[in-house]
Protein backbone atom coordinates (compact mmCIF):
# COMPACT_ATOMS: atom_id res chain seq x y z
CA UNK A 1 0.00 0.00 0.00
CA UNK A 2 2.74 2.44 0.98
CA UNK A 3 4.40 1.83 -2.39
CA UNK A 4 1.27 2.79 -4.22
CA UNK A 5 0.78 5.90 -2.13
CA UNK A 6 4.33 7.01 -2.84
CA UNK A 7 3.78 6.28 -6.52
CA UNK A 8 0.60 8.36 -6.73
CA UNK A 9 1.88 11.22 -4.61
CA UNK A 10 5.22 11.26 -6.40
CA UNK A 11 3.50 11.18 -9.78
CA UNK A 12 1.36 14.20 -8.95
CA UNK A 13 4.19 16.19 -7.38
CA UNK A 14 6.68 15.61 -10.18
CA UNK A 15 4.03 16.25 -12.82
CA UNK A 16 3.11 19.53 -11.12
CA UNK A 17 6.73 20.63 -10.70
CA UNK A 18 7.59 19.96 -14.33
CA UNK A 19 4.42 21.68 -15.57
CA UNK A 20 5.22 24.64 -13.36
CA UNK A 21 8.63 25.02 -14.94
CA UNK A 22 7.08 24.72 -18.38
CA UNK A 23 4.46 27.34 -17.67
CA UNK A 24 7.13 30.01 -17.52
CA UNK A 25 7.85 29.47 -21.18
CA UNK A 26 4.21 29.08 -22.13
CA UNK A 27 4.27 25.30 -22.34
CA UNK A 28 0.90 23.55 -21.93
CA UNK A 29 0.57 21.27 -18.90
CA UNK A 30 -0.73 18.04 -20.42
CA UNK A 31 2.41 17.04 -22.37
CA UNK A 32 4.56 17.83 -19.35
CA UNK A 33 2.47 15.62 -17.06
CA UNK A 34 3.18 12.88 -19.57
CA UNK A 35 6.88 13.77 -19.75
CA UNK A 36 7.11 13.46 -15.97
CA UNK A 37 5.87 9.89 -16.40
CA UNK A 38 8.59 9.17 -18.93
CA UNK A 39 11.37 10.69 -16.81
CA UNK A 40 10.36 9.12 -13.51
CA UNK A 41 9.25 5.82 -14.98
CA UNK A 42 10.92 2.42 -15.12
CA UNK A 43 12.39 2.94 -18.61
CA UNK A 44 14.73 5.81 -17.81
CA UNK A 45 17.79 5.88 -15.54
CA UNK A 46 17.57 7.75 -12.27
CA UNK A 47 14.66 7.89 -9.88
CA UNK A 48 11.88 5.40 -10.57
CA UNK A 49 8.83 6.55 -8.71
CA UNK A 50 6.74 3.80 -10.19
CA UNK A 51 8.12 0.34 -10.84
CA UNK A 52 4.87 -1.11 -12.03
CA UNK A 53 2.56 1.14 -14.07
CA UNK A 54 -0.26 -1.12 -12.82
CA UNK A 55 0.04 0.63 -9.46
CA UNK A 56 -1.60 3.65 -11.04
CA UNK A 57 -4.10 1.61 -13.08
CA UNK A 58 -7.38 2.35 -11.33
CA UNK A 59 -6.59 5.99 -10.64
CA UNK A 60 -5.46 6.57 -14.23
CA UNK A 61 -8.71 5.02 -15.46
CA UNK A 62 -10.62 7.35 -13.14
CA UNK A 63 -8.71 10.20 -14.76
CA UNK A 64 -9.75 9.02 -18.22
CA UNK A 65 -13.38 8.68 -17.12
CA UNK A 66 -13.48 12.12 -15.50
CA UNK A 67 -11.79 13.71 -18.52
CA UNK A 68 -14.49 12.40 -20.82
CA UNK A 69 -17.31 12.97 -18.34
CA UNK A 70 -16.27 16.61 -18.07
CA UNK A 71 -15.88 16.89 -21.82
CA UNK A 72 -19.47 15.68 -22.22
CA UNK A 73 -20.63 17.97 -19.45
CA UNK A 74 -19.08 21.02 -21.09
CA UNK A 75 -20.27 20.03 -24.50
CA UNK A 76 -22.33 22.80 -25.89
CA UNK A 77 -24.79 21.82 -28.56
CA UNK A 78 -26.01 25.39 -28.97
CA UNK A 79 -22.44 26.48 -29.70
CA UNK A 80 -22.55 24.03 -32.54
CA UNK A 81 -25.92 24.96 -33.96
CA UNK A 82 -25.62 28.73 -33.51
CA UNK A 83 -22.70 28.80 -35.93
CA UNK A 84 -24.84 27.05 -38.49
CA UNK A 85 -23.82 24.78 -41.31
CA UNK A 86 -20.78 26.84 -42.15
CA UNK A 87 -19.17 26.09 -38.79
CA UNK A 88 -20.08 22.41 -39.05
CA UNK A 89 -18.58 22.41 -42.52
CA UNK A 90 -15.39 23.99 -41.24
CA UNK A 91 -15.06 21.40 -38.50
CA UNK A 92 -15.73 18.63 -40.99
CA UNK A 93 -13.12 20.04 -43.37
CA UNK A 94 -10.55 20.07 -40.58
CA UNK A 95 -11.29 16.52 -39.54
CA UNK A 96 -11.48 15.19 -43.07
CA UNK A 97 -8.16 16.74 -44.10
CA UNK A 98 -6.23 15.86 -40.97
CA UNK A 99 -7.64 12.39 -40.46
CA UNK A 100 -7.45 11.30 -44.07
CA UNK A 101 -3.88 12.57 -44.12
CA UNK A 102 -3.05 10.72 -40.92
CA UNK A 103 -4.69 7.50 -42.10
CA UNK A 104 -2.95 7.44 -45.46
CA UNK A 105 0.34 8.42 -43.84
CA UNK A 106 0.17 5.55 -41.32
CA UNK A 107 -0.94 3.00 -43.93
CA UNK A 108 1.79 4.11 -46.31
CA UNK A 109 4.36 3.54 -43.60
CA UNK A 110 3.12 0.01 -43.14
CA UNK A 111 1.24 0.26 -39.85
CA UNK A 112 -1.66 -2.13 -39.31
CA UNK A 113 -5.20 -1.02 -40.14
CA UNK A 114 -6.27 -0.72 -36.48
CA UNK A 115 -3.10 1.21 -35.65
CA UNK A 116 -3.60 3.47 -38.66
CA UNK A 117 -7.11 4.40 -37.51
CA UNK A 118 -5.85 5.19 -34.01
CA UNK A 119 -3.03 7.32 -35.45
CA UNK A 120 -5.48 9.08 -37.78
CA UNK A 121 -7.63 10.05 -34.77
CA UNK A 122 -4.66 11.07 -32.66
CA UNK A 123 -3.20 13.36 -35.33
CA UNK A 124 -6.59 14.53 -36.53
CA UNK A 125 -8.24 15.79 -33.36
CA UNK A 126 -7.02 18.93 -31.59
CA UNK A 127 -6.89 19.25 -27.83
CA UNK A 128 -9.76 21.38 -26.53
CA UNK A 129 -7.86 22.05 -23.31
CA UNK A 130 -4.72 23.32 -25.03
CA UNK A 131 -6.52 25.30 -27.73
CA UNK A 132 -8.91 27.13 -25.40
CA UNK A 133 -6.05 27.94 -23.06
CA UNK A 134 -3.94 29.25 -25.93
CA UNK A 135 -6.57 31.63 -27.34
CA UNK A 136 -7.15 32.93 -23.81
CA UNK A 137 -3.44 33.46 -23.09
CA UNK A 138 -2.79 35.10 -26.46
CA UNK A 139 -5.74 37.41 -25.77
CA UNK A 140 -7.54 36.50 -28.93
CA UNK A 141 -10.96 35.84 -27.42
CA UNK A 142 -12.46 38.86 -29.19
CA UNK A 143 -10.99 38.02 -32.59
CA UNK A 144 -13.53 36.97 -35.20
CA UNK A 145 -11.59 33.81 -36.08
CA UNK A 146 -11.67 32.61 -32.47
CA UNK A 147 -15.35 31.79 -32.82
CA UNK A 148 -14.46 29.57 -35.75
CA UNK A 149 -11.58 27.95 -33.84
CA UNK A 150 -13.87 27.14 -30.91
CA UNK A 151 -16.47 25.83 -33.35
CA UNK A 152 -13.91 23.48 -34.87
CA UNK A 153 -13.02 22.23 -31.39
CA UNK A 154 -16.67 21.54 -30.57
CA UNK A 155 -17.15 19.57 -33.78
CA UNK A 156 -13.99 17.60 -33.05
CA UNK A 157 -15.07 16.80 -29.48
CA UNK A 158 -18.38 15.44 -30.71
CA UNK A 159 -16.66 13.53 -33.46
CA UNK A 160 -14.36 11.88 -30.92
CA UNK A 161 -17.33 10.19 -29.23
CA UNK A 162 -18.57 8.77 -32.50
CA UNK A 163 -15.05 7.81 -33.48
CA UNK A 164 -14.46 5.96 -30.23
CA UNK A 165 -17.58 3.93 -30.97
CA UNK A 166 -16.47 3.31 -34.54
CA UNK A 167 -13.05 2.16 -33.34
CA UNK A 168 -14.62 -0.35 -30.96
CA UNK A 169 -14.51 -3.31 -33.35
CA UNK A 170 -10.89 -2.54 -34.20
CA UNK A 171 -9.86 -2.21 -30.57
CA UNK A 172 -12.00 -5.09 -29.39
CA UNK A 173 -11.17 -8.76 -29.70
CA UNK A 174 -13.47 -9.44 -32.63
CA UNK A 175 -12.00 -12.21 -34.74
CA UNK A 176 -14.44 -12.12 -37.62
CA UNK A 177 -16.30 -9.53 -39.61
CA UNK A 178 -19.63 -10.69 -38.18
CA UNK A 179 -18.58 -10.32 -34.57
CA UNK A 180 -16.94 -7.00 -35.41
CA UNK A 181 -20.22 -5.73 -36.84
CA UNK A 182 -21.97 -7.15 -33.77
CA UNK A 183 -19.67 -5.23 -31.45
CA UNK A 184 -20.17 -2.05 -33.44
CA UNK A 185 -23.94 -2.56 -33.24
CA UNK A 186 -23.81 -2.98 -29.45
CA UNK A 187 -21.65 0.13 -29.13
CA UNK A 188 -23.94 2.11 -31.39
CA UNK A 189 -27.07 0.81 -29.63
CA UNK A 190 -25.67 1.87 -26.28
CA UNK A 191 -24.93 5.32 -27.69
CA UNK A 192 -28.45 5.59 -29.10
CA UNK A 193 -30.03 4.59 -25.76
CA UNK A 194 -27.93 7.16 -23.94
CA UNK A 195 -28.67 9.78 -26.59
CA UNK A 196 -32.41 9.17 -26.16
CA UNK A 197 -32.04 9.56 -22.41
CA UNK A 198 -30.03 12.72 -23.02
CA UNK A 199 -32.80 14.13 -25.16
CA UNK A 200 -35.86 13.20 -23.12
CA UNK A 201 -34.80 11.86 -19.77
CA UNK A 202 -32.39 14.47 -18.46
CA UNK A 203 -34.90 16.01 -16.07
CA UNK A 204 -35.58 12.59 -14.57
CA UNK A 205 -31.86 12.04 -14.04
CA UNK A 206 -31.63 15.49 -12.49
CA UNK A 207 -34.45 14.69 -10.10
CA UNK A 208 -32.67 11.62 -8.74
CA UNK A 209 -30.31 13.75 -6.76
CA UNK A 210 -30.90 16.65 -4.39
CA UNK A 211 -29.21 19.58 -6.04
CA UNK A 212 -28.91 21.91 -3.09
CA UNK A 213 -25.99 20.13 -1.50
CA UNK A 214 -22.52 20.29 -3.06
CA UNK A 215 -21.27 17.23 -1.22
CA UNK A 216 -24.12 14.97 -2.31
CA UNK A 217 -24.01 16.39 -5.81
CA UNK A 218 -20.33 15.56 -6.24
CA UNK A 219 -20.58 12.09 -4.76
CA UNK A 220 -23.70 11.21 -6.76
CA UNK A 221 -22.48 12.38 -10.13
CA UNK A 222 -18.94 11.07 -9.88
CA UNK A 223 -20.54 7.78 -8.88
CA UNK A 224 -22.92 7.93 -11.82
CA UNK A 225 -20.09 8.69 -14.26
CA UNK A 226 -17.91 5.84 -13.03
CA UNK A 227 -20.82 3.40 -12.89
CA UNK A 228 -22.00 4.13 -16.43
CA UNK A 229 -18.41 3.91 -17.66
CA UNK A 230 -18.12 0.52 -15.98
CA UNK A 231 -21.39 -0.74 -17.48
CA UNK A 232 -20.29 0.49 -20.90
CA UNK A 233 -17.01 -1.33 -20.50
CA UNK A 234 -18.87 -4.49 -19.42
CA UNK A 235 -21.01 -4.30 -22.56
CA UNK A 236 -17.90 -4.10 -24.68
CA UNK A 237 -18.31 -0.39 -25.39
CA UNK A 238 -15.33 1.51 -24.03
CA UNK A 239 -15.55 3.12 -20.60
CA UNK A 240 -14.47 6.36 -22.30
CA UNK A 241 -17.65 6.57 -24.43
CA UNK A 242 -19.85 5.68 -21.48
CA UNK A 243 -18.34 8.52 -19.46
CA UNK A 244 -18.68 10.98 -22.32
CA UNK A 245 -22.33 10.09 -22.93
CA UNK A 246 -23.33 10.32 -19.28
CA UNK A 247 -21.61 13.71 -19.29
CA UNK A 248 -23.81 14.76 -22.22
CA UNK A 249 -26.91 13.65 -20.31
CA UNK A 250 -25.97 15.44 -17.12
CA UNK A 251 -25.19 18.54 -19.20
CA UNK A 252 -28.93 18.80 -19.91
CA UNK A 253 -29.87 18.95 -16.22
CA UNK A 254 -30.34 22.13 -14.26
CA UNK A 255 -27.36 21.45 -12.02
CA UNK A 256 -24.95 20.96 -14.94
CA UNK A 257 -22.91 24.07 -14.35
CA UNK A 258 -22.41 23.37 -10.66
CA UNK A 259 -21.50 19.74 -11.27
CA UNK A 260 -19.00 20.85 -13.88
CA UNK A 261 -17.41 23.24 -11.39
CA UNK A 262 -17.36 20.63 -8.62
CA UNK A 263 -15.91 17.87 -10.77
CA UNK A 264 -13.18 20.07 -12.25
CA UNK A 265 -10.59 19.74 -9.45
CA UNK A 266 -11.15 15.98 -9.34
CA UNK A 267 -10.75 15.78 -13.08
CA UNK A 268 -7.55 17.81 -13.01
CA UNK A 269 -6.04 15.60 -10.32
CA UNK A 270 -6.89 12.22 -11.79
CA UNK A 271 -6.27 13.34 -15.37
CA UNK A 272 -2.72 14.26 -14.30
CA UNK A 273 -2.34 10.67 -13.02
CA UNK A 274 -3.68 9.44 -16.35
CA UNK A 275 -1.16 11.48 -18.37
CA UNK A 276 1.65 10.47 -16.02
CA UNK A 277 0.66 6.81 -16.35
CA UNK A 278 0.66 7.16 -20.12
CA UNK A 279 4.19 8.54 -19.88
CA UNK A 280 5.19 5.44 -17.92
CA UNK A 281 4.27 3.28 -20.88
CA UNK A 282 6.71 5.14 -23.13
CA UNK A 283 10.16 3.61 -23.39
CA UNK A 284 12.51 6.28 -24.72
CA UNK A 285 14.59 3.47 -26.23
CA UNK A 286 11.70 2.90 -28.65
CA UNK A 287 11.84 6.51 -29.77
CA UNK A 288 14.66 5.71 -32.18
CA UNK A 289 12.42 3.44 -34.19
CA UNK A 290 9.71 6.07 -34.57
CA UNK A 291 11.75 9.29 -34.93
CA UNK A 292 11.17 9.55 -38.66
CA UNK A 293 7.48 8.74 -38.26
CA UNK A 294 7.07 11.40 -35.58
CA UNK A 295 8.82 14.00 -37.72
CA UNK A 296 6.71 13.03 -40.71
CA UNK A 297 3.48 13.22 -38.70
CA UNK A 298 4.39 16.66 -37.31
CA UNK A 299 5.21 18.06 -40.77
CA UNK A 300 2.06 16.51 -42.20
CA UNK A 301 -0.13 18.03 -39.47
CA UNK A 302 1.53 21.40 -39.97
CA UNK A 303 0.89 21.40 -43.71
CA UNK A 304 -2.69 20.12 -43.46
CA UNK A 305 -3.54 22.62 -40.73
CA UNK A 306 -2.21 25.53 -42.77
CA UNK A 307 -4.18 24.36 -45.81
CA UNK A 308 -7.36 23.95 -43.75
CA UNK A 309 -6.79 27.34 -42.12
CA UNK A 310 -6.36 29.09 -45.47
CA UNK A 311 -9.50 27.48 -46.90
CA UNK A 312 -11.48 28.39 -43.78
CA UNK A 313 -10.26 31.98 -43.88
CA UNK A 314 -11.33 32.20 -47.48
CA UNK A 315 -14.84 30.94 -46.61
CA UNK A 316 -15.17 33.50 -43.84
CA UNK A 317 -13.33 36.27 -45.73
CA UNK A 318 -10.75 36.49 -42.95
CA UNK A 319 -7.32 38.09 -43.29
CA UNK A 320 -4.09 36.19 -43.84
CA UNK A 321 -3.16 36.65 -40.18
CA UNK A 322 -6.49 35.24 -39.04
CA UNK A 323 -5.96 32.27 -41.35
CA UNK A 324 -2.63 31.48 -39.72
CA UNK A 325 -4.12 32.05 -36.26
CA UNK A 326 -6.63 29.32 -37.05
CA UNK A 327 -3.97 27.01 -38.52
CA UNK A 328 -1.46 27.33 -35.71
CA UNK A 329 -3.82 27.52 -32.74
CA UNK A 330 -5.55 24.28 -33.68
CA UNK A 331 -2.16 22.52 -33.86
CA UNK A 332 -2.37 21.71 -30.14
CA UNK A 333 -2.73 17.97 -29.58
CA UNK A 334 -3.20 16.62 -26.08
CA UNK A 335 -5.72 14.72 -24.02
CA UNK A 336 -7.78 13.36 -26.91
CA UNK A 337 -4.72 12.01 -28.75
CA UNK A 338 -3.37 10.46 -25.56
CA UNK A 339 -6.76 8.91 -24.75
CA UNK A 340 -6.84 7.25 -28.17
CA UNK A 341 -3.25 6.04 -27.79
CA UNK A 342 -3.87 4.63 -24.31
CA UNK A 343 -6.97 2.78 -25.54
CA UNK A 344 -4.87 1.33 -28.35
CA UNK A 345 -2.20 0.16 -25.90
CA UNK A 346 -4.84 -1.32 -23.60
CA UNK A 347 -6.24 -3.22 -26.59
CA UNK A 348 -2.83 -4.70 -27.30
CA UNK A 349 -2.08 -2.90 -30.55
CA UNK A 350 1.47 -2.11 -31.72
CA UNK A 351 3.27 -0.72 -28.67
CA UNK A 352 5.21 1.80 -30.71
CA UNK A 353 2.00 3.88 -30.78
CA UNK A 354 2.80 5.12 -27.27
CA UNK A 355 6.20 6.70 -28.07
CA UNK A 356 4.90 7.87 -31.46
CA UNK A 357 1.88 9.75 -30.12
CA UNK A 358 3.75 10.82 -26.97
CA UNK A 359 6.58 12.46 -28.89
CA UNK A 360 4.15 13.90 -31.45
CA UNK A 361 2.05 15.54 -28.75
CA UNK A 362 5.16 16.86 -27.03
CA UNK A 363 6.59 18.43 -30.20
CA UNK A 364 3.31 20.05 -31.22
CA UNK A 365 2.97 21.37 -27.68
CA UNK A 366 6.12 23.41 -28.34
CA UNK A 367 5.51 24.19 -32.01
CA UNK A 368 1.82 25.17 -31.70
CA UNK A 369 2.10 28.06 -29.20
CA UNK A 370 5.41 29.15 -30.73
CA UNK A 371 3.95 29.55 -34.22
CA UNK A 372 0.58 30.78 -33.02
CA UNK A 373 2.04 33.68 -31.07
CA UNK A 374 4.04 34.73 -34.13
CA UNK A 375 1.37 34.36 -36.80
CA UNK A 376 1.39 38.09 -37.62
CA UNK A 377 5.12 38.04 -38.34
CA UNK A 378 4.84 34.81 -40.30
CA UNK A 379 1.94 36.13 -42.36
CA UNK A 380 4.15 39.01 -43.53
CA UNK A 381 6.75 36.62 -44.84
CA UNK A 382 4.32 34.66 -46.96
CA UNK A 383 4.32 36.01 -50.50
CA UNK A 384 1.13 37.95 -50.98
CA UNK A 385 -0.74 36.28 -53.73
CA UNK A 386 -4.49 36.20 -53.71
CA UNK A 387 -5.51 33.99 -50.79
Amino acid sequence: MSNELIAVGGALITAALLARLGRRIGFPTIPLFMLAGVVFGPHTPGLDLVEDPGDLGLLATLGLILLLFHLGLEFNISGLTSGGRKLLGTGALYLALNMTGGLLFALALGWGVAEAFVIAGAVGISSSAIVTKLVTELRRLANPETRVILGIIVVEDLFLAVYLAALQPLLGDADSLVSAIGEFAVALGFLVVLAVIARWGATAVGRLVPTDDDELLTVSFVGLAVLVAGIASELGVSDAIGAFMIGLIVAETAAAERISRLVLPLRDTFAAVFFFAFGLSIDPADLGSVTAVVAGAVVLTLILNVVAGLITARWYKFSRVAALNISFTTLGRGELSLILASLAIAAGLDERIAPLIGAYVLILAVVGPLLSSRSTAIAKRIPQRAP
Binding site: E74, F75, N76, S78, G79, L80, S82, S128, T132, V135, T136, R139, L141, A142, N143, T146, R147, L150, G151, I153, V154, E257, S260, R261, S319, V321, A322, T376
Partner: protein, 172 residues
Protein backbone atom coordinates in the same frame (compact mmCIF):
# COMPACT_ATOMS: atom_id res chain seq x y z
CA UNK B 1 -31.30 66.28 -17.98
CA UNK B 2 -33.02 63.27 -16.53
CA UNK B 3 -34.83 62.64 -19.78
CA UNK B 4 -31.68 62.77 -21.91
CA UNK B 5 -29.95 60.43 -19.57
CA UNK B 6 -32.80 58.02 -19.78
CA UNK B 7 -32.70 57.98 -23.54
CA UNK B 8 -28.96 57.63 -23.62
CA UNK B 9 -29.16 54.85 -21.11
CA UNK B 10 -28.11 51.51 -22.45
CA UNK B 11 -30.95 49.28 -23.40
CA UNK B 12 -30.09 45.60 -23.06
CA UNK B 13 -30.73 45.19 -26.76
CA UNK B 14 -27.51 47.04 -27.52
CA UNK B 15 -25.45 44.36 -25.81
CA UNK B 16 -25.01 41.17 -27.76
CA UNK B 17 -24.28 37.94 -25.99
CA UNK B 18 -22.58 34.84 -27.35
CA UNK B 19 -21.61 31.56 -25.81
CA UNK B 20 -17.98 30.51 -26.14
CA UNK B 21 -17.80 26.72 -25.82
CA UNK B 22 -15.22 25.60 -23.30
CA UNK B 23 -14.56 29.16 -22.14
CA UNK B 24 -17.68 31.00 -21.03
CA UNK B 25 -19.80 33.83 -22.42
CA UNK B 26 -18.98 36.89 -24.45
CA UNK B 27 -20.74 40.27 -24.25
CA UNK B 28 -20.25 42.96 -26.87
CA UNK B 29 -21.00 46.57 -26.04
CA UNK B 30 -20.74 48.96 -29.00
CA UNK B 31 -19.44 52.38 -27.97
CA UNK B 32 -20.04 54.28 -31.19
CA UNK B 33 -17.09 55.74 -33.14
CA UNK B 34 -16.55 52.18 -34.43
CA UNK B 35 -15.29 51.13 -31.04
CA UNK B 36 -16.60 48.38 -28.88
CA UNK B 37 -15.82 46.72 -25.58
CA UNK B 38 -15.93 42.96 -25.41
CA UNK B 39 -16.24 41.30 -22.03
CA UNK B 40 -15.52 37.60 -21.75
CA UNK B 41 -16.71 35.93 -18.55
CA UNK B 42 -14.91 32.63 -18.08
CA UNK B 43 -16.48 29.66 -16.33
CA UNK B 44 -13.64 30.04 -13.83
CA UNK B 45 -14.86 33.52 -12.89
CA UNK B 46 -12.01 35.25 -14.69
CA UNK B 47 -13.05 38.26 -16.81
CA UNK B 48 -11.24 39.45 -19.90
CA UNK B 49 -11.84 42.90 -21.36
CA UNK B 50 -11.03 43.80 -24.94
CA UNK B 51 -11.28 47.26 -26.44
CA UNK B 52 -11.73 46.90 -30.18
CA UNK B 53 -11.50 49.53 -32.89
CA UNK B 54 -12.92 48.87 -36.34
CA UNK B 55 -10.29 48.22 -38.98
CA UNK B 56 -7.67 47.04 -36.51
CA UNK B 57 -6.82 43.39 -36.26
CA UNK B 58 -5.31 43.65 -32.78
CA UNK B 59 -7.39 44.92 -29.85
CA UNK B 60 -6.48 48.45 -28.73
CA UNK B 61 -6.32 47.29 -25.12
CA UNK B 62 -6.90 44.16 -23.13
CA UNK B 63 -7.17 43.43 -19.43
CA UNK B 64 -7.66 40.34 -17.38
CA UNK B 65 -9.44 40.52 -14.03
CA UNK B 66 -10.23 38.09 -11.26
CA UNK B 67 -13.80 37.76 -10.07
CA UNK B 68 -13.19 40.09 -7.12
CA UNK B 69 -11.39 42.69 -9.24
CA UNK B 70 -14.19 42.61 -11.80
CA UNK B 71 -16.77 43.30 -9.10
CA UNK B 72 -14.71 46.17 -7.76
CA UNK B 73 -14.34 47.65 -11.24
CA UNK B 74 -18.04 47.32 -11.93
CA UNK B 75 -18.81 49.09 -8.65
CA UNK B 76 -16.42 51.91 -9.60
CA UNK B 77 -17.94 52.20 -13.07
CA UNK B 78 -21.42 52.06 -11.59
CA UNK B 79 -20.60 55.05 -9.41
CA UNK B 80 -20.70 53.35 -6.04
CA UNK B 81 -17.69 55.32 -4.80
CA UNK B 82 -18.00 58.56 -6.69
CA UNK B 83 -20.82 59.85 -8.78
CA UNK B 84 -20.01 62.75 -11.06
CA UNK B 85 -22.80 65.30 -10.55
CA UNK B 86 -23.79 65.32 -14.23
CA UNK B 87 -24.95 61.76 -14.18
CA UNK B 88 -26.29 61.79 -10.68
CA UNK B 89 -29.85 61.40 -11.78
CA UNK B 90 -29.45 58.36 -13.91
CA UNK B 91 -31.70 55.76 -12.47
CA UNK B 92 -31.42 52.04 -12.80
CA UNK B 93 -34.34 49.74 -13.36
CA UNK B 94 -34.11 46.16 -12.20
CA UNK B 95 -37.03 43.87 -13.00
CA UNK B 96 -39.46 46.77 -13.29
CA UNK B 97 -38.28 48.23 -9.98
CA UNK B 98 -36.58 51.60 -10.19
CA UNK B 99 -33.77 52.55 -7.84
CA UNK B 100 -32.59 56.12 -8.03
CA UNK B 101 -30.51 58.69 -6.16
CA UNK B 102 -31.88 62.18 -5.87
CA UNK B 103 -30.41 65.13 -4.01
CA UNK B 104 -32.53 67.51 -1.98
CA UNK B 105 -31.57 71.13 -2.64
CA UNK B 106 -32.12 74.18 -0.47
CA UNK B 107 -35.16 75.32 -2.40
CA UNK B 108 -36.69 71.86 -2.79
CA UNK B 109 -40.32 71.60 -1.68
CA UNK B 110 -39.43 68.79 0.66
CA UNK B 111 -36.49 70.44 2.41
CA UNK B 112 -37.23 70.95 6.09
CA UNK B 113 -40.24 68.65 6.08
CA UNK B 114 -40.53 65.12 7.44
CA UNK B 115 -41.36 62.11 5.31
CA UNK B 116 -44.69 61.81 7.13
CA UNK B 117 -45.53 65.48 6.56
CA UNK B 118 -44.90 65.11 2.88
CA UNK B 119 -46.95 61.89 2.72
CA UNK B 120 -44.48 60.74 0.13
CA UNK B 121 -45.83 57.25 -0.36
CA UNK B 122 -49.44 58.35 -0.65
CA UNK B 123 -48.72 61.19 -3.06
CA UNK B 124 -46.00 59.68 -5.20
CA UNK B 125 -46.02 55.90 -4.74
CA UNK B 126 -42.27 55.98 -4.10
CA UNK B 127 -40.46 54.82 -0.97
CA UNK B 128 -37.42 56.49 0.53
CA UNK B 129 -35.15 53.53 1.24
CA UNK B 130 -32.19 55.42 2.63
CA UNK B 131 -30.86 58.90 3.23
CA UNK B 132 -27.17 59.64 2.77
CA UNK B 133 -26.32 62.65 4.91
CA UNK B 134 -22.74 63.87 5.52
CA UNK B 135 -21.30 60.46 4.62
CA UNK B 136 -23.66 58.70 7.04
CA UNK B 137 -26.37 56.47 5.70
CA UNK B 138 -29.75 56.36 7.40
CA UNK B 139 -31.25 53.07 6.28
CA UNK B 140 -35.04 52.76 6.15
CA UNK B 141 -35.61 56.22 7.70
CA UNK B 142 -38.47 56.72 10.15
CA UNK B 143 -41.47 58.69 8.86
CA UNK B 144 -40.55 61.42 11.32
CA UNK B 145 -37.16 61.95 9.65
CA UNK B 146 -36.85 65.53 8.40
CA UNK B 147 -35.27 65.99 4.99
CA UNK B 148 -32.48 68.54 4.76
CA UNK B 149 -30.76 70.29 1.89
CA UNK B 150 -27.86 68.25 0.51
CA UNK B 151 -29.50 64.99 1.62
CA UNK B 152 -29.12 62.27 -0.97
CA UNK B 153 -32.17 60.05 -1.07
CA UNK B 154 -32.21 56.50 -2.33
CA UNK B 155 -35.71 55.95 -3.64
CA UNK B 156 -37.50 52.84 -4.81
CA UNK B 157 -40.64 52.55 -6.85
CA UNK B 158 -42.14 52.18 -10.27
CA UNK B 159 -40.31 54.07 -13.02
CA UNK B 160 -43.40 56.16 -13.86
CA UNK B 161 -43.69 57.48 -10.32
CA UNK B 162 -40.29 59.15 -10.30
CA UNK B 163 -41.56 62.28 -12.06
CA UNK B 164 -44.32 62.69 -9.46
CA UNK B 165 -41.75 62.21 -6.72
CA UNK B 166 -39.53 64.94 -8.15
CA UNK B 167 -42.47 67.30 -8.51
CA UNK B 168 -43.62 66.61 -4.96
CA UNK B 169 -40.31 66.56 -3.07
CA UNK B 170 -37.36 67.82 -5.09
CA UNK B 171 -38.61 70.60 -7.33
CA UNK B 172 -38.91 74.13 -5.88
Amino acid sequence: MGETARRARLSPAEVTEQSMPGIGRRFDLPLGDDQSIVTVIHHSGRRDLYVLAAGHEEPAATASLSDAQARTLSAILGGAYFKPSVVEEIESVVGGLLIDWVTVSEDSRGAGQSIADLEIRRHTGMTVAAIVRDDDAILAPEPTEVLRAEDRLVVLGRPDDLIRFRRHVIDP
